[in-house]
Every structure is written in C-alpha cells, then in structure tokens.
C-alpha cells in the first residue's frame, strides 16, 4: 500500500536559503581557489583544478550513498519520500560523476600527457557512472510507480558496492592516479595548509550546491508523485 506523500518536504522552508548559501560559498571558494591558494611548486597553476575535481568526487560518493540510504528507506517503509530522495540524488550524482570524469580528463592532459588512460581509478569511476546511468534508465523505462521505486531501490542497494572499489582502486592496483590525499588511512592530509583550507571550503561549497539541487529536484519529484497518486485515487 502506497501512502500519499506526507508533509510536503521539510526542506521547502530552507530551500531559498540553501540556494543563497550555495551561491555565496561558491563565490568564496572560487576566489580562494583562483587567487588565495598558493601555486603548486611542481604542477604550477594547473593543479587548481583540484578544487573542482576533488569536491566533485566527494559529491559523487555522497550522492550515491544517499541513493543507497534512500533505497533502503523505500524498501523498509515504502514511503514515496524516500523514492523522491533516491531519484533526485541519483540524477545529481550522475551529473557530478560526469563532471568529475571530465575535470579529471582536463587535469590529466597537461600532467599525464593523455586525456584518458586505462587506470584503475578512471575505469572504476567510468563503471560507476554507467551503473547509475543504468539506474536512471531502469527508472525511466518502468511505468508503474511502485514497481519502479522497488526495482530501482534494489539496484541502488547493489550499486553502492562500487563506491569503495572506486576509492580504494588506487591502493589495490598499480595506478597512475595519485593515492588518496585527504581521506587516507593513518595520517593527516598530504596537502599544504592553505591548499587544505581552500579545498575544505570548496568541498563545503559544492556540498551546499548538492543540497540546493537536491531540495529543488525533490520538490519537483514530490509534486509529480502527488499528481500520480491523485490520479490513481
């Protein structure tokens, strides 16, 4: 039995503020990344793409972990709110993963000399991207609301297995990609303090952008669900 959507999304009240915060923090992060952060001794200014690439990677992980949690929530409770959260996060995750791959490719050209190489991190990321494209495809091709949500939730639970594989692939296999710089076991981040602060601000800014997108997309999805459930009733 599918219940109608409960109280329309608690974040609706904070939605405008999320957008303002996302824009403000993005402006600060952009200034810090382009002006305030020092130039890298080895790579020069090229390294500044780090302030986009790493936050995008973090958001890809975050978005797909949210899909996993929302999928479990749907399977457990069958509340449509969880399905709206899953689809919203999956779409944003696919967008950010695509941008993550493109940003990595742009960084790879001047540093590695190639746009793409068969490196474990790159390949596993591309695989993760395809998995979630498949997830969205499964959703778009299913017609019944409940079946679509359930099947997508099952796939959302299975696909999360790829996230640790992507992150740890550089440790498990010989990789051209550098080892984890920030989220590494047994040590502080291998990064200059000013660079570290800039990276932290960038990650916060991108995370706020993610939540702003999520709130907007969920509002659209919940409205869509409401119409479907009304039509069914």
């Amino acid at each position: 039995m599918i219940e109608t959507t409960a109280a329309p999304f608690p974040t609706i009240r904070v939605r405008p503020w999320l957008g303002v915060l996302a824009i403000g923090s993005s402006a600060i992060a952009t200034f810090m990344a382009l002006v305030w952060a020092p130039t890298d001794a080895v790579q020069g200014d090229v390294y500044r793409i780090l302030y986009v690439h790493v936050p995008l990677a973090w958001l890809a992980y975050l978005a797909f972990v949210v899909v996993f949690i929302a999928s479990l929530g749907w399977l457990w409770t069958k509340r449509p709110w969880f399905d709206a959260l899953a689809v919203a996060s999956a779409e944003i995750g696919v967008l950010f993963t695509g941008m993550f791959i493109v940003a990595g490719s742009i960084w790879a050209k001047p540093t590695w000399g190639v746009w793409w190489t068969w490196d474990p991190r790159l390949v596993t990321t591309a695989v993760m991207f395809m998995m979630y494209v498949g997830y969205l495809l499964l959703r778009s091709l299913s017609t019944d609301f409940s079946q679509r949500a359930t099947r997508a939730a099952v796939l959302g639970v299975i696909a999360v297995i790829d996230i640790p594989i992507v992150h740890l692939s550089v440790l498990w296999m010989n990789s051209l990609h550098q080892l984890p710089t920030v989220m590494r076991a047994g040590g502080s981040p291998a990064l200059d303090a000013a660079m570290g602060v800039t990276l932290l601000v960038s990650v916060i800014a991108f995370t706020l952008v993610y939540f702003a997108f999520l709130a907007e997309r969920m509002a659209v999805e919940l409205e869509r669900q409401r119409r479907i459930l009304e039509a069914r009733a």
């Binding site: 399977l75 695989v127 993760m128 395809m130 998995m131 494209v133 498949g134 495809l137 499964l138 091709l141 299913s142 017609t143 409940s146 079946q147 359930t150 099947r151 939730a153 099952v154 796939l155 639970v157 299975i158 696909a159 297995i161 790829d162 594989i165």
Partner: protein, 222 residues
C-alpha cells in the same frame, strides 16, 4: 517442502522445458559460436590465438550467451504467466531466483563447453594446465548468472528489457569478466598460482552475489 526442494523443482521444470524446446540453448550456442568466429576473424588468427585475447573473446561471448539464456528463460515464464503462479507460493520468490540460477548455470555450462571446444579447434590453442582451465570455466559459469538473473528480474515486464539487462548487469560483472579472462589466460600459459588466485576470486563473487540475490530478490519482485 523445503526451500531447497522448491528451488530444485523450479530448476527441474526449467531444464525440462529447455530439453523439450531448446530454443534458448540453441540460440545461445549459435550466437556464441558466431561471436567467437567473428571476433577471431576481425582480429586475425595471429592475434586471436594469443592466450589473453582468446580468453577475452571467449568470456565476452559467454557473457552475452548468459544474457540470452536468462532472457529466453524468463520469456517462457511470461508467455503463459507461469511466473505469477510461482510468486504467490510461500517462498516462491526465493525458489524462482535459486531455481533459475541453477537451471541457467547448467545450460550455460553446456554452451561454455561447446564454445571452448570450438575455440580450441578454431584457434588451435595450446592448453598448459587443462585442469585449471576447467576449474576457471566452472567457476566462471557459476559467477556470471547470479547478477544476470537479478538484472533480468529487475527488468521484468519493463520496456526495452533486451537492452536493459546488459546495461544493468555488465558494469557489475566487470570484475568477474576480468577474473574469468585472466584466470583462463593464466591456465593456458601454465601459471598455476595465478589461475588458482583468479578462480578463488570467481568463487567469492559467485557466493557473494548468490547470497545477495537470495536476500534481495524477494524485495525486488512485486
């Protein structure tokens, strides 16, 4: 009736249907043979005979064959709505998954055996460790179907199912495909330790996805 009995009943019914009308098996066998032949011709016999290349061509063909066998198996269930009768039974969902898994693995094993003979003859391959090749082959055949059956169930009664099943299952199956290819290549070249290592990985994948499928399939079917 225990869960195992129910699963074996579904598997026996599936194999009986396949024996009576072996259209899925024949299609998979023909397709696999054709794929091995075409890939070998496209690359040229010199390159296709290299153990790594020959193994990759063979396992990609088997992967496609597995999707064909699974697709045909579920088509049969849907044609006369037999699947609904199984699903309403107590424990029917688990039995459906486990039974299909057993039956599809058996059919795939026969296809894989025939394709292996074809590859060995066509490419005149030298086999250094026959026992290891068989071990990797058996475990490869067991490691692929759990994900493919799960993907087929997820795409059941969905538009464009034929395209959707590979899109859903192949990214998940990449580690298994690499293990199959590397394990078979190692066995062909005489690297026993590497072949056994890859075989172990395949066994782990077969177990993990088999258990995951059994756990999650009841939730996936409405």
């Amino acid at each position: 009736m225990s869960a195992l009995d129910r699963a074996l009943l579904v598997a026996a019914r599936e194999l009986a249907a396949e024996r009576r009308h072996p259209d899925g098996f024949v299609a998979a066998l023909t397709f696999t043979g054709l794929l091995v032949l075409m890939e070998s011709l496209a690359l040229g016999p010199g390159q296709a005979r290299q153990p790594g290349v020959a193994s990759a061509l063979y396992w990609i063909a088997i992967l496609f064959a597995a999707t064909l066998v699974a697709g045909r198996s579920f088509d049969r269930e849907l044609e006369d709505d037999a699947i609904d009768a199984i699903l309403v039974l107590d424990g029917g969902r688990e039995a459906l998954y486990a039974g299909k898994l057993v039956a599809i693995s058996v059919v795939l094993a026969i296809v894989a055996l025939a394709a292996a003979v074809l590859s060995l003859l066509l490419l005149d391959l030298e086999v250094a460790l026959a026992g290891h090749v068989v071990l990797v082959g058996i475990l490869g055949v067991l490691a692929l179907p759990p994900v493919i059956v799960l993907a087929t169930l997820l795409a059941l009664r969905v538009r464009a199912r034929v395209a959707l099943v590979p899109i859903l299952s192949f990214p998940i199956l990449i580690p298994q495909l690499v293990a199959c290819t590397q394990g078979a290549a190692a066995a062909l070249t005489g690297d026993a330790a590497a072949a056994l290592g890859w075989a172990g990985i395949l066994a782990a994948f077969a177990l993990v996805y088999g258990v995951l499928g059994l756990t999650i399939v009841p939730a996936a079917i409405e």
